[in-house]
């Protein structure tokens, strides 16, 4: 009786790959085109944020935390502020909570539209990418009108929000809701009924309910498998209970039982776009007048936090990708937190999808990874400062090297970007 000899090949996807937005390495063990095992290796995007956080005070941490990720920057900012407010016992005025909810929902709109386009692009359907991203421009314009920037809005501060939404902003948001309501039928027709999309996304990268539960999957990844978890709902966060938030499950959108595949996650995202539009309408109706900051003067914030923060605080919020958790521990009398840690939604989702890819074909790897909406900038976050035998290049060295190279290529380039005078104190 001859044995069947199997040739298993290990192929790395990443860290640099056209289908991945951010560097991560998946080592696939393949048998022909079928995947046997997936191993996840992270660490390509480390920036040393937790180590830096040991050396910053509460307000500087807010700026640091915002810049962890570009797309979910508001979520990080919001969650961190909630954690500090819980540790310090600060009460946030109600109008500020409503504004936080409004900007949060706008961010969710823009992130979901981005992800729908990326899923379309990864199955070769470029037209969908361009048209969805064209639709996303409207949200970015409204966000720019409200907050001044298309990403990294910086709206939240500890104890409230920094900018108010005036009448003009309100009108812009109402126009936005009308515009999206008019184009959502087209988006639904593409993503839910198109034959190519159904052929590719149905039953691809199935994450069963058991695996989603064991691996702690969050966000649309978990809801697409049938788990009813949503941090705004299970936390009773802020004004969200008044606005009427419930987790969106695939059966609300497709009408069938959830399979846990990519199609279901896309359906959950489409349902969430509808839910965000409703929440925006309710929030604009119910928003009361009042002040928007707990401490109207910004320059007393650090001094007040020095006295008020004593103990630990946990903040949880539902970013577009899932549940975001921040933890802050501080001691009275010090203006720096003793410990800060964040956990972003992509981390457990990656491991859940690594289990879910077993048995699929290589063609589905990129679309599966795109379906959990990876935001690796948030995932790798810890210290990578290396001493010893390696040279540490400071910012000045890198800047000098790059200026030299430009001069080599083009000797009569005008302008000199070396910082004069004090510059950055490095």
């Amino acid at each position: 009786m001859t044995e069947k000899v199997e040739y298993w090949v290990k192929v790395p996807i990443g860290p640099i790959h056209p289908g991945l937005e951010e560097p991560e390495k998946f080592i696939l063990t393949l048998d022909g085109e079928r995947i046997i095992n997936v191993d996840v290796k992270l660490g390509y995007n480390l920036r040393g944020i937790q180590w830096i956080a040991y050396r910053r005070n509460y307000v500087q941490m807010m700026y640091l935390v915002e810049r962890i990720c570009g797309i979910c920057s508001f979520s990080h900012n919001h969650t961190y502020s909630r954690a500090v407010e819980e540790a310090a016992g600060i009460e946030v005025p109600e109008r500020a909570e409503y504004i936080r909810a409004i900007v949060g929902e706008l961010e969710r709109l823009h992130s979901h539209l981005l992800n729908l386009g990326v899923v379309g692009h990864d199955i070769g359907y470029d037209t969908v990418l361009h048209l969805t991203w064209l639709a996303r421009e409207k949200v970015m314009d409204v966000l720019e009108a409200i907050s001044g920037n298309r990403v990294n809005y910086s709206m939240v501060t500890i104890g409230g929000v920094r900018r108010d939404i005036d009448e003009k902003g309100k009108r812009l948001i109402l126009d936005l809701i009308k515009y999206y309501r008019s184009i959502m039928p087209q988006i639904e027709e593409v993503f839910l009924h198109d034959p190519t999309i159904e052929a590719r996304l149905r039953d691809a990268a199935v994450v069963s309910r058991r695996i989603a539960k064991e691996y702690g999957a969050v966000g649309p990844t978990a809801r697409g498998s049938g788990l009813k978890v949503d941090a705004r709902w299970s936390e009773g966060l802020g004004v969200y209970p008044d606005l009427g938030v419930k987790p969106v499950l695939p059966q609300d959108v497709t009408g069938e039982k959830p399979h846990g595949d990519v199609y279901d996650r896309t359906a959950v995202r489409i349902g969430e776009i509808h839910q965000s539009l409703e929440l925006l309408e309710h929030a604009l109706d119910q928003m009361p007048d009042g002040k928007i900051k707990a401490f109207p003067k910004d320059n007393v914030l650090v001094a007040k936090l020095k006295i008020m923060v004593d103990g630990e605080g946990v903040g949880r919020y539902e970013a577009p990708r899932g549940e975001l958790v921040h933890y802050v521990r501080g001691k009275k009398g010090s203006d720096k937190p003793l410990r800060w840690k964040a956990r972003e939604p992509t981390f457990p989702n990656l491991f859940a999808i690594a289990k879910g890819l077993v048995g699929n074909q290589v063609a589905d790897v990129v679309v599966a990874i795109a379906s959990i909406d990876p935001c690796l900038s948030c995932t790798d976050r810890v210290a990578v400062v290396q001493g010893g035998k390696k040279i540490v290049l400071t910012e000045k060295d890198l800047l000098k090297a790059s200026i030299e190279k430009t001069r080599e290529l083009n000797p009569d380039v005008k302008g000199d970007p070396t910082p004069i005078g004090f510059g950055c104190a490095r």
């Binding site: 064991e214 702690g216 009427g244 410990r339 491991f351 104190a425």
Partner: protein, 189 residues
Amino acid sequence: MTDDNVIMEKVEVKEPTKEDLVAEAIKNRFPSAEVEIKENKWGKRRVWVRVPREDYKALMKFIVELDPEAHYSIGIEQDYGEELGYMSHILINYEEAPGVSLLVEVRAPKDDPVIPDISDVFPIAVQYEREAAEMMGIVFEGIPDSRRLFLPDDFPEGIYPLRLDEKGISEEAVKNAGHPYYIKGGAKK
């Protein structure tokens, strides 16, 4: 949406909230654990549990018995000076809003930093434990996968970046990594 079990009534007998029931159950089963319910300014209550090393794994299994759908959110490693700690946040009883937010902490002295591993109860915990092991130097006994998670493979052994004592990153290994505000001495102290 009526959250009538989260508003504190100072007048009559209040019906036990979900957090109270959970805290009672844990206290009855594990008398050596310290259980506390803290409520923040907007009415959210969290159950904070501190448990000694020996009962840690049994407590985790008990939590899964309380709610088989328990959701493990985060594992935070901490440096308390003389001790190392590991805190986990678990969400249980979330079928109806709001769920119960449970934080479990276990500590170990620095010269014996061994903590039991809970990856057979929560399979995702192994990834957080890998991170804690490489960042803080906690040794989890029985961990199935002890490779490095975030740090590169040629990072020197014995240096734990998030420790605040001599085993952390030394000042010579770092150039210009302070904020200019503090390099110049900070505020007048």
